[in-house]
Subunit: 320 residues, 2 copies
């Protein structure tokens, strides 16, 4: 599945994640420098203009590289259709990470009843109803239903960027609950999907190294839920479906994934009825750049003052 990079090189989950002082220390440094702005919830931050500037420049660098593939550019919002969410097995595999958007649909009387709970500091959230949308768990999920049916010859290449949500409160500044990724997605034949994944496995390393981030590519797994999830993690690793590009941010023992390259087999093609030009179920692959994590890695590596970053990094990022 095309999920966001987890900081898990080894098998980690929310509950086994270390929350040592190195995470809190870096987070506090970033806050003290004004780069991150605490918003009262773990893993939810405002960002300064400087932090956003670094993300914008890195994003532009990725776009420059991606343009060579002549992708179709699409942008999806942070929410997508509940009806599509219900098709992708996320509720089976990652229920603890989901964000389901609920709202109030009652009349004046029901409103007064909810407000009396609110005033009494009781749980008013149960007076809400599920809306038609869910938080987007991965940038490419909204794409697949939009290309249902027969693909053109040669399949599709898409350039996506947007927010993903993952309910995963943490002291690790690199484990945000809401964050952006830039993705390139390929939908087509198995060969096309695998070629895309390999292309980006090389290209991501080239891009990261060009800004002074010597990442390592490792086989990884998504944080499948519960006891049953153990088997799925093992299968995903055995089939080498997911590679992560990792680099130490707060911990050398547990380096952080700042990008990932994923092969989904025919998962999305079969769920959403996507076919290649010759009538086969489409396969897909994606690369994701974790933009906030990349900024955090850059600040860790080169220091909190952008104007003191190495000249060659500033040049590659056109920071001036």
């Amino acid at each position: 599945m095309c999920v966001l990079p987890s900081s898990a090189v080894h098998d980690t989950t929310l509950h086994s994640e270390p929350t040592g002082s190195a995470y809190e220390a870096y987070r506090d440094e970033l806050v003290a420098a004004g780069l991150l702005i605490p918003l009262g919830v773990k893993g939810v931050f405002g960002r300064s203009g400087t932090f956003e500037g670094v993300i914008d420049r890195f994003d532009a660098l990725v776009t420059k590289h991606g343009r060579a593939l002549n992708p179709v550019v699409m942008r999806f919002p942070p929410v997508f259709a509940r009806s599509n969410y219900e098709k992708i097995d996320h509720i089976n595999n990652f229920p603890d990470l989901m964000g389901s958007v609920h709202t109030f649909t009652g009349d004046d009387k029901a409103h007064r009843a909810m407000l009396s709970k609110f005033t009494a500091k009781e749980d008013w959230s149960r007076d809400l109803d599920a809306s038609q949308v869910m938080m987007t768990p991965a940038i490419c999920y909204p794409l697949y239903p939009t290309v249902a049916g027969k693909l053109p010859e040669g399949g599709i290449r898409a350039d996506l960027q947007g927010y993903a949500f993952r309910h995963e409160p943490s002291d690790d500044p690199a484990r945000m609950q809401i964050f952006r990724m830039h993705e390139y997605v390929r939908i087509g034949t198995p060969a096309e999907a695998l070629e895309h994944r390999q292309y980006w496995l090389d290209k991501t390393q080239e891009i990261f190294r060009s800004v002074g981030l010597p990442v390592e590519a490792v086989v990884a797994n998504d944080p499948f839920f519960g006891r049953g999830g153990k088997v799925q993690k093992a299968i995903q690793r055995e089939q080498a479906l997911k590679f992560e590009l990792v680099i130490p941010i707060c911990s050398t023992d547990k380096p952080t994934a700042i990008g990932s390259c994923n092969y989904h087999l025919d998962h999305f093609g079969s769920v959403f009825g996507i076919e290649t030009a010759d009538g086969q179920v489409a396969h897909s692959a994606c690369v994701g750049f974790g933009l906030e994590r990349i900024a955090l890695a850059l600040f860790k590596r080169h220091g909190l003052r952008v104007e003191a970053w190495p000249r060659e990094v500033r040049d590659v990022l056109a920071l001036d």
Copy 2:
């Protein structure tokens, strides 16, 4: 309150909104042109690279004008703290527009119980718990708690841009459930807040006219909920707290607000304990540019092919 522009010049609410064929016709045109990508839920769209390009260029134009005020630049994500949501009266005034983010917090057994509802097509959403975050209803809400306490002399000017959510399914392409606004917020003395509002009331009209959008400034109100809301709407209008910049998009009878200039009195200052340098409760004001609506107004006014837009508009937007 600093809420998003409603398309209400007159007093409209969700339920009285016209859903005539002019709205659907323009939406269908935008979809046929590939500018908007339907995602299966009313008011939730993907956008093409061209559509995003127009938003980016307009956003850059606003930023160029705003830079003269030397604002502090901050960016907030599409969710913010539930604890802060609970302080701002949104649950009283706009419960039907809220987005409350819920998630699964149970164990394997509870997961199996939820999945059996899911499989039986029963309502599984009641097995979720409220998370610590809510969808951001307006771009400037997350700002106020971050500046609690005493302000520096001269107060604060902030440049914000991000997503807001408003549960308001509609056939009007300009009434999206999730959309972006660029805001400039002033927090300080009453005089500073009012001066900011007046500055932007003039400046927004200048900016909109420079791209061929002859807006009209009108006194407006927010869509307060229910029977009690009628009084609040009347008070807000009587005090002329909210101005909207409106222009016909799908309807000349009911032109659409593409920007708004709001004076909040001491609402946020008193809720979040923000004080001016001389110890008074701070007042605030904001201007909001509704980015998707502005793009929709530009496409309506100048046509769906950006390359055929008037030369002077393309020049002002640096579209080339």
